[in-house]
C-alpha cells in the first residue's frame, strides 16, 4: 500500500490558513486564522478552547501550601500561613473586599516576637495560584541574595488573597515595606503570570496609587533574574524615599487601577 502520489479529484482543505499567514510573525494576536464559512475553523476553535480551559483551571486552582512551604524552606526564613476572610473561591471572586481582609483566625498567627522587618514577602494565590506555585520560589531565590543588609521578615503564604491583604500582614508584623507576589488574572496566552506589588509604609486603606508593580513575571515574560533586579531596585528606592507608588518616580509603572484586583 502506498499513499496516492497525487489526486486531482482531492478537495482542497476545508479551512486553510489565510494567504497573509506570514504576518503572524509580527504579533501574538490570533490573525490569519482562515474560516469555515463565516466561522472559526475547527483547529482554531479547539486551540482557543484549550487556552481558555487553562486560564479557567488556573483561576480555580488551589495553592498547594504544603508544596510551597517545602520550596520556601530552603531560604532559612520563618514561614507563616494566613488566609483572607473569603471562605471559598466563589466568594473570593465576588467579594474583593473579603480578599483584602485577614480571616479572624489567621489574624492571630503572626507572632509578636518577630523583630519588625524592613522587607516582608507575602506569597499570594491571587487570581492564579498556578503562577504563585511556579514562580514565587525561583523569583525569591534570585531576589533574596540581592537584599543583603536588609532585615527580611518571615515568608508569608496567603490564600484567597488580594494584593491589599499583604498590607494587613505587614501592619501586624511592623514591616516597613511589603512585597506581594501574587498570581495575576490569567490571560489566554499566559495562565501563570506573577505580579510583584511593592508597598512602602502600608496603612489600612492604602490605595493602588501608593504601590509599584512589576507584571508578567514568568520565564516567557519578565524572567526571574531581570525581575529580581527591578524588584530590588524598587525596594531600595522605596525604602530610601519612605514611600511607593505614583509618588516614587521610577521607571516601573505605578499599579494600575483596582478594578480587576
Amino acid at each position: 500500500m502506498s499513499l496516492p502520489a497525487h489526486d486531482d479529484d482531492a478537495e482542497p482543505p476545508l479551512s486553510p490558513a489565510d494567504p497573509w499567514n506570514a504576518l503572524r510573525a509580527h504579533t501574538p494576536a490570533r490573525i490569519a486564522l482562515g474560516r469555515s464559512g463565516a466561522s472559526l475553523p475547527t483547529r482554531e476553535l479547539l486551540a482557543f478552547g484549550v487556552a481558555h480551559a487553562q486560564a479557567r483551571d488556573a483561576v480555580h486552582a488551589a495553592l498547594d501550601v504544603t508544596a510551597l512551604r517545602a520550596g520556601l524552606a530552603g531560604f532559612g526564613l520563618p514561614i507563616l500561613e494566613v488566609r483572607s476572610a473569603a471562605p471559598n473561591r466563589a466568594a473570593y471572586l465576588a467579594r474583593p473586599d473579603w480578599g483584602r481582609r485577614l480571616d479572624p483566625a489567621s489574624a492571630a498567627v503572626p507572632s509578636a516576637s518577630v523583630t519588625p522587618p524592613a522587607v516582608l514577602f507575602v506569597i499570594a494565590d491571587g487570581l492564579s495560584a498556578v503562577a504563585a506555585q511556579r514562580h514565587a520560589v525561583p523569583l525569591l531565590a534570585a531576589t533574596l541574595p540581592l537584599l543583603e543588609g536588609l532585615a527580611v521578615g518571615p515568608l508569608v503564604m496567603a490564600t484567597q488573597a488580594r494584593v491589599a491583604l499583604a498590607d494587613a500582614v505587614a501592619i501586624r508584623l511592623g514591616a516597613r515595606l511589603v512585597v506581594s507576589l501574587i498570581g495575576e488574572r490569567p490571560g489566554l496566552s499566559a495562565p501563570d503570570s506573577l505580579g510583584a506589588y511593592v508597598t512602602c509604609a502600608p496603612q489600612p486603606g492604602t490605595t493602588d496609587a501608593e504601590r509599584n508593580c512589576l507584571s508578567n513575571i514568568r520565564p516567557e515574560g519578565l524572567g526571574y533574574a531581570e525581575a529580581a533586579q527591578q524588584l530590588v531596585a524598587l525596594i531600595r528606592a522605596a525604602l530610601a524615599a519612605g514611600r511607593s507608588g505614583v509618588a516614587l518616580s521610577m521607571q516601573a509603572a505605578p499599579a494600575p487601577s483596582a478594578i480587576e484586583r
Partner: protein, 463 residues
C-alpha cells in the same frame, strides 16, 4: 418614602435611590455595594412600587444633589420639557407599556430622546425583560457619521481593535490588515495603547492615517489614550480623527478618570477644529461600563446600572460618533457570570439608545468571570436583533494587550450572515470596489482574488 404590599408584608423604601437599586435585577456589584434587594420578593415589591411612580418624580428628585454633582446639573439643565410632553403623564410602568406599543414609532422615539433622563431610562429598564429590551431598542435608530455612516437600519459596523502588548506598529498593522480583509473596521480602527508616551502614540496615529489615506478607506482612526494626550497631539499637528475618553455617571467618577465636562468640551472642539470628517462631524468616541463608579468609590449609593445610565447624559452632551459599553471587562465582582453580563449588555444598549446615543457594546468577559464564548454568542445575537450600532472586532476574540475576550472578526461575519446585516454604506462600497465582497454582500474567499488590496503593505511586512 416608597411602599408596596405583597400579601401581608409591606415593603418600604426610604429613598428613590434605594427603590431603583432594589428593583434592579440581581448582580454581584450591587451586592458588593450593599444596595441590592435582600430577597426576591423585596425585589418584586420594589418593582411594583417603581411601576406606580410617575415619570415626573425623576424631575422633582435628584439622586445626587444638584449642588454636588455636575452630571446631575447636566441632566437637569439639558432636560427638554417639550420633548418629554408625550409621556409626561405616565408612570414608569405605563411608560414600559408605551415603549412596547405601536405608538412608540422610530420617529416618536427619536423626538422623545431629549425629554428622557437617565434615571427614567434606568427605571423603566428595570421593569423590562431581556425580550422587552430587544423589542424596544430595535425601534430606535441613532445615525451618526464621520467618514462612514453608522446606525442605519439593517446595518452593523465593527470597531477594528488591533491591539499589541508593546504597541509594535508592525504588529498593530498586521492585525489591522487582517481585520480589513475580514471586512471589519467600518465603525473605526481603534487602538488601546499600552504606552502613554506622546512620541510612540504619534507613530500609531500617523500609521493609521497613512493607511486610511493611501487606500481610501472610509473609516476613522482612534488611539484610546487619555484625552489630554489627544488634545496635545492635535496641538502638535498629529492627524487625529476621533477623540476618545472613558466617562462615568458621577462627577467623582469622571474626576477619577482625570476629566471634567469642561475638558471634554475642549477635547471635542480640538477634534472638530481639524475638520477631518467627510460625511459627518461626530468626532467623539466614549466608553463606559457598569461597576466603574463603585470601583472608584464614586457611586453615591446608587446601583451600578443607574450610574451607567447617567454616564450616557455625559456622552450625549458631546454628539458622539460611537458610545461603547465595555460590558464584561470589569470582572465578576460587578457582573458575576454570563447571565449578568448578557442582561447588563441589553440594558446598556437600550438605555443608551432611548437617550439618543449611537450605542455599541463590547461583548466581552474576563477569565475570572463565570462566562465563556457561548455566553458571548448569545449576547451578540441578541444585540444584533436589538439593532446594535457596532461591536468590536478583535483577532480571534483574544485581546493580547488588554487580556480579555471580546468579539472576533469572525463573530462579526457570523452575525452579518445570521441576521442579514450589511456594512456601513461607504465601507460596503469600498469593499465591493476591492472585490472583497461578492454580489450578495458576502465576504469572498481571499484565495480566489487576483490581488489583495494591501499586497504592498503585506509584502513590506513580510520583508
Amino acid at each position: 418614602m416608597y411602599r408596596a404590599r405583597i400579601g401581608i408584608r409591606s415593603h418600604v423604601f426610604a429613598s428613590l435611590s434605594e427603590l431603583l437599586a432594589k428593583a434592579s435585577p440581581f448582580r454581584s456589584g450591587d451586592a458588593l455595594a450593599g444596595v441590592a434587594a435582600v430577597s426576591a420578593e423585596a425585589r418584586m415589591a420594589a418593582r411594583i412600587a417603581l411601576a406606580d411612580l410617575p415619570l415626573r418624580a425623576f424631575l422633582d428628585t435628584a439622586l445626587i444633589p444638584y449642588e454636588q454633582d455636575d452630571v446631575t446639573r447636566l441632566i437637569v439643565d439639558d432636560h427638554d420639557t417639550a420633548a418629554f410632553a408625550p409621556v409626561a403623564s405616565l408612570t414608569v410602568g405605563a411608560f414600559r407599556d408605551w415603549l412596547l406599543s405601536p405608538r412608540a414609532t422610530t420617529e416618536a422615539l427619536a423626538a422623545l430622546a431629549p425629554g428622557i433622563t437617565p434615571e427614567m431610562a434606568a427605571a423603566v429598564s428595570k421593569l423590562m425583560r431581556n425580550q422587552d429590551l430587544v423589542v424596544a431598542a430595535r425601534k430606535i435608530r441613532v445615525v451618526t457619521a464621520f467618514r462612514s455612516t453608522i446606525g442605519l437600519p439593517g446595518r452593523l459596523a465593527i470597531r477594528l481593535q488591533p491591539n499589541h502588548p508593546a504597541d509594535d506598529p508592525r504588529g498593530i498593522l498586521a492585525s489591522t490588515l487582517d481585520g480589513l480583509l475580514y471586512g471589519a473596521g467600518d465603525a473605526c480602527i481603534g487602538i488601546n495603547p499600552a504606552t502613554d508616551d506622546p512620541a510612540k502614540l504619534r507613530v500609531l496615529w500617523e500609521m493609521l492615517d497613512q493607511l486610511i489615506d493611501r487606500h481610501g478607506i472610509p473609516t476613522q482612526s482612534c488611539v484610546l489614550a487619555h484625552v489630554t494626550r489627544q488634545i496635545e497631539a492635535i496641538e502638535h499637528g498629529v492627524p487625529v480623527d476621533l477623540v476618545f475618553q472613558s466617562v462615568g455617571g458621577t462627577e467623582a467618577l469622571n474626576r477619577s478618570f482625570g476629566v471634567t465636562l469642561a475638558l471634554l468640551r475642549e477635547a471635542r472642539d480640538a477634534g472638530l477644529s481639524l475638520q477631518r470628517g467627510t460625511v459627518g462631524h461626530n468626532v467623539m468616541y466614549f466608553e463606559t461600563g457598569q461597576g466603574a463608579a463603585l470601583s472608584a468609590n464614586a457611586h453615591h449609593g446608587l446601583d451600578q446600572q443607574t450610574c451607567e445610565a447617567r454616564a450616557y447624559a455625559v456622552c450625549r452632551a458631546f454628539a458622539p460618533l460611537l458610545v461603547n459599553s465595555v460590558v464584561g471587562f470589569i470582572g465578576p465582582e460587578y457582573l458575576y457570570d454570563g447571565k449578568q453580563i448578557i442582561r447588563a449588555g441589553l440594558e446598556d444598549h437600550f438605555c443608551g439608545k432611548l437617550l439618543g446615543l449611537p450605542m455599541g457594546v463590547d461583548v466581552c468577559y474576563t477569565n475570572h468571570a463565570e462566562a465563556d464564548q457561548d455566553d458571548m454568542d448569545s449576547l451578540l445575537t441578541l444585540l444584533g436583533a436589538a439593532g446594535v450600532n457596532f461591536v468590536m472586532g478583535v483577532p480571534g476574540a483574544d485581546d493580547v494587550m488588554l487580556g480579555y475576550q471580546s468579539t472576533s472578526f469572525h463573530d462579526g461575519l457570523a452575525l452579518r450572515e445570521t441576521l442579514g446585516l450589511r456594512h456601513a454604506p461607504e465601507f460596503e462600497d469600498w469593499l465591493l470596489a476591492h472585490q472583497l465582497l461578492d454580489a450578495d454582500g458576502r465576504l469572498r474567499d481571499a484565495r480566489s482574488l487576483p490581488a489583495l488590496p494591501f499586497d504592498a503593505a503585506i509584502a513590506a511586512l513580510r520583508r
